[in-house]
């Protein structure tokens, strides 16, 4: 493949997946790297499954092909497993340790450990951080996405494409007023990944 980085960002609608992906693209743009972020809006905002395709570098098409993702960044365990087919053999999964049972009556939810086993069977490497818990500690559940992004940075997912400074600049650019809590979340994510 051409020099490209393929990512799948997934989770439940409302977890800030599009924001996370846009920050990655903005950071890439700052480093002169081309980016494509394909998202699905509409109904999926209401607590449904969400997948965002993020492609950096020498790319044309908007969607990551199945088996072509270098990494999956997942804000939720069930959704991480749902899109595992996108991961290339040996790819990395960066994971929020957080399970949201689908709110449908009478539906059976798999256990966290069985989900983790499924990921382990497929992934070359897994980095798990408690992003949602950390965000609640920081006082705003909405910044869990930046905790996960921090973890992905620390895990080296973006190596050769974007660096931590570019991400921080992109965060400042996106939230001139609310940069601090997002930056704190990003750093917390990096620290968590380091110790995981």
């Amino acid at each position: 493949m051409a020099r490209a980085l393929n990512l799948v960002v997934t989770g439940v609608g409302g977890q800030g997946l599009i924001t996370l992906s846009s920050i990655v693209a903005r950071a890439a743009l700052r480093r002169g790297v081309d980016a494509l972020v394909a998202e699905t809006h509409g109904l999926s905002q209401r607590g449904g499954t969400v997948i965002v395709h993020v492609r950096l570098g020498d790319v044309d098409a908007p969607l990551v092909p199945p088996g072509g993702a270098d990494a999956i960044l997942a804000m939720e365990l069930i959704e991480a497993v749902r899109y595992l087919g996108y991961l290339r053999p040996g790819g990395t999964v960066v994971l929020n340790d957080y399970l949201v049972p689908p709110p449908l009556p009478g539906i059976e939810t798999p256990s966290a450990s069985s989900l983790l086993d499924a990921i382990r069977r497929r992934a070359g490497r897994i980095v798990i951080v408690p992003a949602t818990r950390k965000a609640l500690e920081l006082g705003d559940a909405r910044v869990a996405n930046m905790v996960l992004l921090g973890a992905a940075l620390e895990a080296g997912v973006f190596n050769g494409f974007i660096d931590a400074a570019a991400v921080e600049e992109a965060i400042r650019e996106s939230w001139p007023k609310a940069a601090e809590v997002n930056l704190a979340a990003l750093r917390a994510g990096r620290a968590l990944a380091k110790s995981s």
């Binding site: 494509l36 394909a38 044309d60 092909p65 449908l104 059976e108 949602t132 559940a141």
Partner: protein, 652 residues
Amino acid sequence: MPRYSEVLAPAGGKVLMLGNVAIARGFLEAGVQFVAAYPGTPSTEVVEALAAAARRLGGRPYVEWSVNEKVALEAALGAAITGVRAVAVMKHVGLNVAADPFFSSAYLGVEGALVVVSADDPWMWSSQNEQDNRWYGLHAYVPVVEPTGPQDAKEAAKLALEYSARYKRPFLLRSTTRISHTRVPVETGAIPVEELEPRGDFSKNPARWTLIPQYARMHRLELLEAWDRLRRELAGFPLNRVEGSGPVAVVAPGLGYRYAREAVKLLGAEDEVTIYAVATPVPLPEPLAEKILSHDMVLVVEEGDPIVEIQLKTMAVEVDARTRILGKRGAQGLLPRHGELGLEKVAAALAKVLGRELPAWTRGERREPGVKLPPRPPVLCAGCPYRSFFYALRRAANKLRLRPVYSGDIGCYSLGILPPFEVQDIIVDMGASIGSGSGMAHTLTGGGRVVVAIIGDSTFYHSGVTALMNAVYNQSPLLVVVLDNHTTAMTGHQPHPGVGVDAEGRAAPEIRVEEVARGIGVEKILVSDAFDIRDSEAKLIEALRYTIETRKPAVVVARGACILVALQQARRRGIKPPTYYVDPEKCTACGICYKAFNCPAIQRGEDGKAVIDPALCTGCAECVQVCPFDAFKPSQEPPEEWTVIMRTAKPA
């Protein structure tokens, strides 16, 4: 950053934009003066971005949210007749609503410019069908421009408006989900701000501007002539281009080009193919087709229906070409006729045409994950007023021992289809809840049968009003529920005639649902607090009894703000809604709240007792009314302002 500020980014930069925002930028660079639209995924952000620009540029261009797509297109056509550069924007199915003026616009032509944007939704990410609106171009004789990927959406929009002005004909700009909803870096050009001011003029000329048969016949002849001219001249459209010089032709209209190009690179087949990027799929330019037909082998890669493939095949017969044309049709169909394109599909098709081995990864060994995954459909948000209202609706129907048929509609409330509510038995199109519901009301017999039409406020203004008039006139015995959350929620909170604000954020007259209903002649109209289960239940019972006894339509307006808008305004005003928790002493594990009420923030704990996820709870207090054992408690006393905002918040 204020939303959509990138649409006015200074010229000469490279800025990350959503495809739809790039389209908006393209229109601004081409000097658009008039914009009318009805929101619909995946088209909405085009006009949100233009409205944001107008707000900052002192009302230039003129931007409106029209009540529906037909009116939007008529308004834009009217403006274009006065010499103004106008656009009308809609999702694919919106063009069905606007088809009538669309066909007429082709006959009339324009004095200024008119571009109709249609955002198609292959694989129906948020739509009821996957129609390819390039058919409309063929059908109505309106030329179609299609960006070759999100990368040149801005350029395509700009050129479409310029070409429309040059030919004085309407153009259709067709986008698809992956163009509209992909973010890409876009190079910005200059915006001629002064020219955005709409200044129209009109001089009488009935032969030109009226479609009575005598003049329409003349227009028909002119239209055919113009079409033939466009078939020749669109070959020079700047985004049509040819790459490479290999023997096999890959014809790639629109987004197909991006997949084709990357697939060629992946297979290392650069020397074996010639790629034809086609940005004007309708009419397929003849000079281009001739070149394509000079190849022995052609693969057509297009998103949607085989529109270019069919035109090519027709032309091949007409000129007696021996070319093999492969794509989606025929026994040899290499690409699927449904859903979206994908790199793996296009690479596989190309490999076959070239007689190559498939690259290993395209075989996509989709190994089963080894654990059974539950589905996760979208659900009503935690704190949505529709949830408490649907709960009341089910209770009212049970109390009266009715077996209602719920005639549904398009909006967030479509999600009421899911258990535990199941209050959407049919869903057809915008406004059909009342239209089809009143038909059913005339034909359903049997004890306890009653039709309840459920429609949202924005959908009611869009096309529910005429259907309600029909129900009154023809005396259909049905209950119409209008869920009024003061916004068009599903598409991202646009205002509508009931909100009191216009697209550019100015105060506007507020047209109330109950007053419209009264004016139409509905005799029984009740307004309930959608967050208040008892109130809604009582009013529903009263209205249902009325409809059953008098055999006349009744209307219940269920009022309560979209919780997302309410939360946003609370944040802005520094008001902190409470979160709720379950008192384990009181909870008896009866399960009502997570089985029959089903707020996504409430989960079943290990012992069957309820637990609330504080990250999801919005503080709506609906659960408090549902629990028979008084187990739900607020973390803090709910501020008085919050209970007001929940009921009244509107998009600013």
